[in-house]
């Protein structure tokens, strides 16, 4: 079996296995798996509205996945994507609502504000790691809580005690009548294009530039990189800042595209943490992140239809979704199995 065949077969087999075990869980719990999966399918691809919403859901997953993947590729573990996303969301909404500017300036400025806020939120853990060797995992986890509560407080202050911000002006919105009409008035917005552009950007940075060469080199071996004349601290900070900017953009997509404002939150969005799984599913490559985000985004959104259309309780749905993701993550085991099978065939 060729490597390429295996690369295609592995995720397909993984998803099928996950669905099979999920079916067993549904059947054992007394629900009809066929009905359940039909509902899931329709939730994702059923009509143009579902497709539009699914793509909308995928958008922030791509950016969160890129944030985590970029950090991984440069030897860092950014668990703070969630917090960077929250500050990015708020900053984008703030700029989108507080200024009145022509769209060509306002929209890019609001998007950049989101990216800058995320970058700033990641700069601090980067600085602490570069200067004082404080592990980024601890700092970024803590920065998540700080982000959540600081942003909640800011929203309350800004809205005079309320629980939501003002709505952004149309000149800062990613929404488009064209995309909405195409998808039966879903909330699909131009964010997906920005996300895909960022996929290209990450690939370009890592694979084409001297900056990427240095970032990867420092991630693999700081000593040899220093010997090779690279500045270790600068590269660690830069890696965190770029990762944080991706995360901030994910927040900006929610603020400027999906919601148009921001509510105070009781807890995390979860997108930042799911970004870790998205990055790992995609083997930390830009293209892989798209695959991971599509899987996560579609399952997350499609699953919403299962309780309605098939009366399967939310909890069972969560288990089924988790099983599919679990089996995809087990790709390595399936790869091993396939190579054994093909070896046996060769022996014959």
């Amino acid at each position: 079996m060729s490597n390429r065949m295996i690369n295609i077969l592995v995720p397909v087999i993984s998803v099928i296995l996950g669905l099979l075990v999920g079916a067993i869980v549904m059947a054992v719990s007394g629900y009809d798996p066929i009905l359940g999966y039909t509902a899931l399918w329709n939730g994702i691809f059923g009509d143009s509205y579902a497709i539009g919403e699914t793509i909308r859901q995928i958008t922030p997953y791509i950016l969160a996945g890129l944030a985590v993947a970029f950090a991984f590729r440069t030897g860092l573990f950014n668990i703070g994507v969630e917090g960077q996303l929250i500050v990015g969301w708020f900053a984008a909404v703030y700029v989108g609502a507080a200024f009145d500017l022509p769209k060509v300036i306002h929209l890019p400025l609001s998007i950049l504000a989101g990216a800058a806020a995320g970058a700033l939120w990641a700069f601090l853990p980067g600085l602490l790691k570069a200067k004082m060797k404080i592990h980024e995992v601890i700092v970024t986890i803590m920065m998540n809580y700080i982000a959540l509560h600081v942003v909640n407080a800011l929203i309350k202050t800004w809205s005079g005690g309320g629980d939501k911000t003002e709505r952004i002006l149309d000149s800062a919105s990613l929404r488009s009548d064209f995309l909405a009409s195409l998808t039966d008035y879903s909330r699909l917005h131009y964010g997906i294009i920005i996300a895909l552009m960022m996929v290209v950007l990450m690939w370009f940075l890592l694979e084409k530039t001297t900056m990427g060469f240095e970032l990867k080199s420092v991630g693999f071996n700081e000593n040899a990189s220093e010997y090779g004349g690279m500045k270790i601290g600068k590269n660690i900070i830069l890696a965190m800042v770029i990762s944080g900017a991706f995360a901030g953009l994910a927040g900006a997509m929610e603020g400027l595209g999906t919601f148009g404002n921001m509510y105070t939150r009781g807890g995390f969005t979860g997108i930042g943490f799911d970004g870790i799984a998205v990055a790992l599913l995609g083997a930390n490559t830009p293209l892989g992140v798209i695959f991971g985000a599509v899987l996560f985004g579609s399952l997350k959104y499609g699953a919403l239809n299962m309780p309605n259309a098939a009366q399967i309780p939310e909890e069972i749905v969560q288990i089924v979704i988790a099983l599919v993701i679990f089996f995809v993550a087990c790709g390595y085991a399936i790869r091993l199995l396939l190579s054994k099978i093909s070896k046996k065939k060769e022996a014959k």
Binding site: T210, M211, S217, F220, A224, Y227, G229, M230
Partner: protein
């Protein structure tokens, strides 16, 4: 001769690659039998077959005359075969005893019985003169002691046949002498030993017979006393090997490296280099001779910008580079073959091609305006790979997959190709076989002959003696003397390295001479 182990016509394949092709090795009882071969000749594969980690495709193994099937390491253990690995398999924060019993812990009423085990360990240690404290923690004892723990581990499990895999690779000369004494003691206590190595001197010193393999093929077995290092080397490499690299007289001209009153501290702020003075001129190789830990690493790191200078100055071609960043040092004409090629020399997870570009990736023609031209890097790397005989599948192979000698050749190619005015080579031949050593020495001399300055740091006396034009002896962070190789000998150099003055050294040597007369 009575054989305890016979490996007859062993064949081991990995896919299409034949790692062992018809190799025969017979270990006599009470014998130290050396297994000699270049890096990658198949020594480790053969021993892994004996230890049950690999199953051979052909041939048979007999232990004490009986044909056996060693299907896994437990079978090997039961047959009394023990292996002392090159890279120790020890738990750092466990004690000696805990490490030794790991895997078959003695229990008493369901709880560990450490004291009984420790007693047995102490007994074994005494019997074989190992001098190991059963309660010492591994992280607190020296590398030489850790190796003895590995030896004890095999003895504790009742090994009669001990395999030593490159046992001297990480030992100091002192520890090597002690290890050789231990091996002799093991023999007098009735054990038999297979010694895997590519160091010829050790083989001459300690072994009874030598089996040579080359590129996976058994070349034959010779009796050590009837052979010579020259013969063994040519058997191993397959051609005549020059031990003393040919070189003409040196013609030094102007000064390239000037180190004045240099003071450098280590990470714990202890002074390691103390007001050191040194200069290296164009057209000469200056060797720094000294025992490990006398400030060599700190000196080199300070020159190359990897460590801060506390006081004093470093200049290249008269230009001050004190406390400049590594890149500025590199760009002012310094090439550096680092002491630890895995730590500083290579990004092991990068392809070897990236590593060859590690010092120049940001310059034209390898990149332009911040954009890297990976095709140009590949071409550049392919050139060096060919010119420096780096055996690899190509520039895209991970550096990790190359053998030590080939990794080193790639580093040397990278540094020499930049045509530096000063080439610093720190332990450039550590762990390499004679073929690679010869190659590297030749390159260093070639640099000298091209009018470059070369600074060589080495712990190997014969390397310093053979390659250098001048030898600076370092002791306790200072250059205490400078000698010309032709005017000194290993004995005098050894005494200087131990901190004696030349006068004292002469006195000691004279005294020893007298002793011999008395006897």
């Amino acid at each position: 001769m009575e054989y305890v182990i016979e490996m007859l016509n062993i064949r081991k394949e990995f896919g299409n690659f034949v790692a062992n092709d018809n190799i025969t090795l017979q270990l006599g009882k009470g014998e130290i039998h050396a297994l000699l071969g270049e890096n990658g000749a198949g020594k480790s594969t053969l021993m892994n077959v004996l230890f049950g980690l690999y199953q051979p495709e052909g041939g048979e193994i007999r232990v004490r005359g009986k044909k056996v099937d060693i299907t896994d390491p437990n079978v090997a253990n039961d047959l009394g075969i023990g292996m002392v690995h090159q890279h120790f398999m020890l738990v750092e924060n466990f004690t000696v005893t805990e490490n030794i019993i790991l895997g078959n812990e003695p229990t008493k009423g369901g709880s560990l019985n450490i004291s009984a085990a420790a007693k047995k360990v102490a007994e074994l240690s005494r019997q074989y003169g190992l001098n190991v404290d059963p309660y010492a923690k591994i992280e607190d004892i020296s590398v030489g002691m850790q190796q003895r723990v590995e030896i004890l581990k095999t003895l504790y499990r009742g090994a009669e046949i001990l395999i030593f895999d490159e046992p001297t690779a990480s030992l100091t000369p002192q520890e090597i002498t002690e290890l050789i004494a231990i091996m002799r003691k093991l023999i007098t206590e009735g054990k038999s030993i297979i010694l895997i190595t590519h160091k010829l001197q050790e083989i001459m010193d300690v072994s009874d017979r030598v089996t040579v393999i080359r590129k996976g093929k058994g070349i034959g077995t010779v009796i050590t006393d009837e052979s010579s290092p020259e013969e063994l080397a040519s058997l191993m490499v397959g051609r005549q090997v020059v031990f003393k690299t040919e070189k003409g007289p040196s013609h030094p001209t102007e000064e390239v490296l000037t180190v004045k009153d240099l003071v450098v501290t280590d990470s714990r702020n202890v002074e390691k280099v103390k007001r050191l003075n040194l200069n290296v001129r164009r057209g000469e190789i200056v060797g720094i001779a000294g025992i490990d830990g006398n400030g060599q690493s700190e000196l080199i790191e300070a020159i190359t910008g990897l460590r801060k200078v506390k006081a004093g100055t470093v200049a290249i071609n008269g230009k001050d580079i004190t406390n400049k960043r590594p890149r500025q040092v590199t760009e002012s004409g310094v090439g550096h073959i680092p002491q630890d090629r895995h730590k500083h020399g290579l990004v092991l997870d990068f392809p070897i091609g990236h590593n060859i570009a590690l010092q120049t990736y940001y310059q034209k023609p390898l990149s332009k305006g911040g954009i890297i031209d990976y095709k140009a890097i590949d071409r550049f790397a392919e050139g060096i790979i060919e010119q420096y005989d780096v055996r690899t599948q190509g520039p895209h192979e991970p550096a990790r997959a190359l053998s030590g000698g080939n990794q080193q050749k790639a580093i040397i190619g990278r540094e020499v190709e930049r045509d530096p005015d000063l080439l610093i080579a720190a332990l450039p031949t550590r762990g390499l076989d004679v073929g690679a050593i010869e190659f590297i020495h030749r390159r260093l001399i070639e640099q000298r002959d091209n009018g470059k300055a070369v600074l060589l740091v080495s712990f190997e006396l014969d390397e310093v003696m053979n390659v250098s034009d001048r030898i600076a002896v370092i002791y306790d962070g200072m250059i205490i003397d400078t000698v010309i190789p032709s005017e000194t000998d290993e004995q005098e150099l050894g005494l200087l390295m131990a901190g004696h003055s030349r006068k004292e050294a002469a006195a000691i040597q004279a005294e020893e001479g007298d002793d011999k007369h008395v006897q």
